[in-house]
Symmetry: C2
Subunit: 218 residues, 2 copies
DNA sequence: CACAGCGGGGACCAAATAGTCCAGGAAAAG
DNA sequence: CTTTTCCTGGACTATTTGGTCCCCGCTGTG
């Protein structure tokens, strides 16, 4: 009867700069810790200590641990996609793919193959445990693969790749090789298997390159 | 001074049939539960309940959770290797590889891609957490890859594969594609990415098959 | 049948860990 | 400057979970 609220005001909470910074600090700490120890093996107390915050802040910014983890999935996904956009957005040639491969290998070799892929390891840990996290990770993988397949499409359009190349499948295969490579490298504490895996995938893509000159073999 | 024991009697515990059966029951339950929920997300109470045993039995047969997990790594590794030996021991042709691929895909499609590889998911969860488990998993992966590379060696020796094929690298690439495929299939709850990944790896191996007739292209 | 030692049930304990609360301080709005 | 709302510190609670203990039963052996 009284003043009904039209177009619900959403109870918009004011948010201060300091609050944003704290939230960011928590996420950043969770990101680091859960990268090296895994999600389930990291406690909120670890995060609290590493982020120099207190319990109440954790629960002020995140409803519970699950929410923190989900926020981390989003956070890490954004990081990876941003990084990958840099390396793949202008991909137009096979040598660009090789450079991309080298960058990933070099980054992973800095920790001797340890820890694996920030996205892949979360996918393994969370897929059977948090449906929402799984679906976010799935989307992120899709976006990542799309960065690759878009590049491959450009290569096909420019004639570098043959018409019978399937950019989507090639991208999926490359992503699988990358993730499998991360996994084996992590188990071996050695980046070598990841190199072999990526090289296999690149070799496979190479087999779809147009003949530089001369008529096709068949 | 007194009666020093020569050649320590090892305090050999008698072990009854019933004891063996209980231990097996525990391992089998842990295997099932940790396969679907993950290792860290499975509690000892879950295992106790699922195996119809009691706390004291768990600790009678395993020193602590870590030991149980390590025993599971061994147990599961033995299962996988046994299964794979069946499919790979007589591998002599490319079509054999295809059959092997189909069997894996079909098995995984029964759960819509969920849960991933029993070995791979443990590798992700444990590699950064239990050095001993990691090294056992590493050995198991090596043995698994060797089953593959042995088959490829046979194919090369028989002339099916060209001399410039590198069985070890091909096996590593195939294993990475498999593991990456499992991972993506798990995230997607769909076996399709695993198929694409395995097909890529098989296609790559195919490119090393000897020309059935006619002279080599180059 | 008696005895030794393994196997088992389940209560109990202790530590770790998630989650709550409230008072006080900082920052934005009026 | 005053008021309101947000942000923070940190003590406190509840629950989960790994791990211990004790006592009894079973089983095989002499």
């Amino acid at each position: 009867m009284g003043d009904e609220q039209v177009a619900a005001p959403t109870k918009q909470r004011r948010i201060s700069q300091r609050g944003i910074a704290t939230r960011e600090r928590i996420l950043e700490a969770a990101n680091r810790l859960m990268f090296v120890r895994g999600v389930n093996a990291t406690t909120l107390d670890d995060v609290r200590e590493a982020s120099q915050t207190s319990k109440s802040q954790l629960y002020h910014h995140f409803a519970d641990k699950q929410e923190l983890v989900r926020a981390l999935v989003k956070y890490r996904g954004a990081l990876v996609l941003q990084r990958e956009r840099g390396g793949l957005e202008r991909l137009r040639s096979f040598s660009g793919l090789v450079r991309w491969r080298n960058a990933l290998v070099q980054a992973n070799s800095l920790n001797n193959g340890k820890y694996g892929c920030g996205l892949g390891s979360m996918a393994v840990e969370l897929s059977d445990q948090d449906e929402q996290a799984r679906s976010m990770l799935l989307e992120t993988f899709a976006a990542w693969e799309k960065l690759i397949s878009d590049g491959l499409h450009r290569m096909r359009d420019s004639g570098a790749l043959r018409q019978d190349a399937d950019p989507e499948k090639l991208a999926t295969g490359l992503m699988a090789a990358l993730q499998g490579g991360y996994l084996l490298a992590n188990a071996a504490h050695n980046v070598a298997p990841m190199e072999v895996a990526l090289d296999m995938a690149l070799e496979h893509i190479k087999s779809f390159l147009s003949e530089p000159s001369g008529e096709p073999t068949r």
